[in-house]
């Protein structure tokens, strides 16, 4: 009752909208952010490129029959390649393009609860990751089928654990892009650092082997892709905290506090 009384300030304005206006439901925010992530020419080309590259990369195991393992996971790892390189760029763009185009000015006056907007954007990236994984799975299945139809024998080494590992691998890569975008608010900086920093750590961690396995995202994500959990879970969690959770949390805080000009 008290809240009802305090929110009903003396109404000096005309009673046109005196009825309590409901807030913006999350499902609506999600739909709006999905639209923003996919409705520009740049985003459409990028998504089309990812689909084309994923499909095109299937030619590698199909044609290089001797140098590439003719196994189901061998095929799948090629499908993962394009996804993990390009899909995070889409995620970065969903988080940064509003800052570079300065549409945050409109977005955050349409929904001032900035954390909800960011949550919607992160959710869009999760959906993109899920769709991307499913697409890669389909393309892999098609390529494997094609190989078998041409009389080749593809080793059946797929398991639930491998599928989960693959989906998680794509997801973590995408979320890492999200985290970089959320923190840096600048497309160029986020893309460059997203690729350069892990690479630098991989190079550095070769020198410091024992510490390296805790902080090198390439190595830990490799374990995830191969579903090689045994004995690696603490390292995977540590690297994920450093490269994903921490920047994402910092980015969320920065977005909420940042002055929007």
């Amino acid at each position: 009752m008290t809240t009802l009384l305090t929110t009903r300030e003396p109404h000096l304005d005309p009673p046109r909208t005196s009825r309590q206006e409901p807030g913006i439901p999350f499902s609506r925010l999600l739909r709006v952010e999905w639209g923003k992530a996919t409705d520009t020419r740049a985003a459409r080309w990028l998504i089309l490129t990812i689909a084309a590259t994923t499909t095109g990369l299937m030619l590698a195991p199909l044609l290089a029959t001797t140098s590439i393992d003719q196994t189901q996971t061998g095929y799948l790892s090629f499908a993962a390649l394009a996804l993990t390189v390009l899909l995070p760029v889409v995620s970065i763009l969903t988080l940064t393009s509003e800052w570079s185009q300065r549409t945050v000015l409109a977005t955050f006056t349409q929904e001032p609860r900035r954390a909800r907007v960011i949550t919607a954007k992160v959710s869009v990236s999760l959906i993109l990751a899920a769709l991307g994984s499913a697409f890669a799975g389909l393309i892999t299945a098609a390529a494997v089928l094609l190989a078998e139809l041409s009389g080749r024998d593809i080793a059946s080494d797929m398991s639930t654990s491998k599928v989960i590992g693959f989906a998680l691998f794509v997801l973590l890569n995408v979320l890492m892009g999200v985290a970089f975008g959320a923190l840096l608010h600048n497309t160029a900086a986020a893309i460059v650092l997203f690729f350069a920093l892990p690479a630098a750590f991989t190079a550095a961690s070769a020198a410091l082997n024992s510490i390296g396995q805790w902080i090198d995202p390439s190595r830990t994500l490799g374990w995830v892709l191969q579903a090689d959990w045994a004995g690696h879970l603490p390292q995977i969690l540590t690297a994920t905290t450093i490269w994903l959770t921490a920047p994402l949390a910092a980015g969320l805080t920065r977005t909420i506090r940042r002055e929007i000009k």
Binding site: R16, I24, R31, R102, K261
Partner: protein, 308 residues
């Protein structure tokens, strides 16, 4: 209604907005006036929750902006017409806002017509829009949710005279239906015929606020004489500060109340100075008022220091 209560904002050692308070009532159009860098945009951003004030509070329709459940339905904002995604068309820009506020697509078409962007213009990418077209689109976005409050930062910027006249009619109609409008400008002439209230800001501080008529009526007298030197000597002798206009006429500040036309007439008779014009300063004087309020080194201030 919009209220600003003791808003202050500093960046490092620079205070950009200092203790700014004002209020805009339903049915009025308030012009938020000041030179570039006076703190107008910062104040508007604090009112709309985009900048966190160091001190003070602001409300829109009775609540802090950030607590409005669906702001588009309550307060339409246009804070920077150039802050639009250049890759989207005008129509898709409005559709995003419409989806956010749960408005039907029909409302988008309606607004596109209202702001004069229906037809081929709606399907052009915003990157190819002129500034005037972006302003129209921005005003459209602000109007989309049929709000009762409009907050517009430099909306006349980039509009041609016809566009300014259009905006004037639009805002007047909005206010007459009980809406509250707050719009900023650095050019008095641009908004003079649109607004009915003024809040003038200079160096981050409100230097004048009130109904346009009251602010204009009481402030200045225009005196013209074919013998300007004698006129200047007469005013200096009486200790009355004055400003010299480019056409050699003289403006005297009457806001203190101890100078009026009658006193000037008496002085002129006593000093035998021929005066050919003595009247309340009109819009030219209003410009003078604006400059005298917003800049410290106008002729008015300079002369009063000389006289002192």
């Amino acid at each position: 209604m919009i209220t600003a209560d003791s808003l202050s904002k500093s960046y490092g050692a620079t205070t950009v907005v200092r203790d700014v308070s004002f209020r805009c009532d339903p049915g009025t159009i308030t012009g938020f006036l000041g030179p570039n860098g006076a703190g107008k945009s910062t104040t508007l951003r604090m009112i709309t929750g985009l900048t966190h004030p160091d001190a003070g509070t602001a409300t829109v329709a009775g609540r802090p902006f950030a607590e409005l459940p669906n702001p588009l339905r309550v307060a339409g904002t246009l804070l920077d017409a150039s802050a639009m995604h250049s890759g989207r068309t005008g129509r898709s820009t409005l559709r995003i806002a419409a989806r956010m506020a749960a408005l039907p697509d029909g409302r988008v078409e309606q607004v596109l017509t209202t702001v004069g962007l229906a037809g081929a213009a709606a399907d052009r990418r915003v990157g190819n829009y002129s500034l005037g077209m972006r302003q129209r689109l921005g005003i459209g976005q602000a109007l989309l949710g049929d709000p009762r409050v409009l907050i517009l930062d430099e909306p006349a910027n980039g509009l041609d005279p016809e566009g300014i006249a259009w905006m004037r009619t639009l805002l007047r109609d909005f206010a007459d239906r009980g809406g509250t409008v707050l719009l900023s400008s650095h050019l008095l002439s641009e908004v003079q015929a649109t607004v009915d209230h003024l809040v003038v800001i200079a160096d981050g501080t409100v230097v004048a606020a009130g109904p346009l008529d009251a602010l204009l009526a009481s402030t200045a007298l225009l005196i013209r004489s074919p013998e300007p030197e004698s006129l200047h000597r007469m005013l200096e002798g009486a200790g009355i500060p004055f400003g010299v206009n480019t056409d050699q006429s003289v403006t005297v500040d009457t806001s203190s109340g101890d100078v009026d036309a009658r006193r000037i007439a008496h002085l002129a008779v006593d000093a035998r100075v021929l005066v050919t014009e003595l009247r309340a300063a009109d819009s030219g004087g209003l410009e003078q008022l604006f400059f005298s309020l917003t800049a410290g080194d106008t002729p008015l201030a300079a002369h009063s220091q000389e006289a002192a």
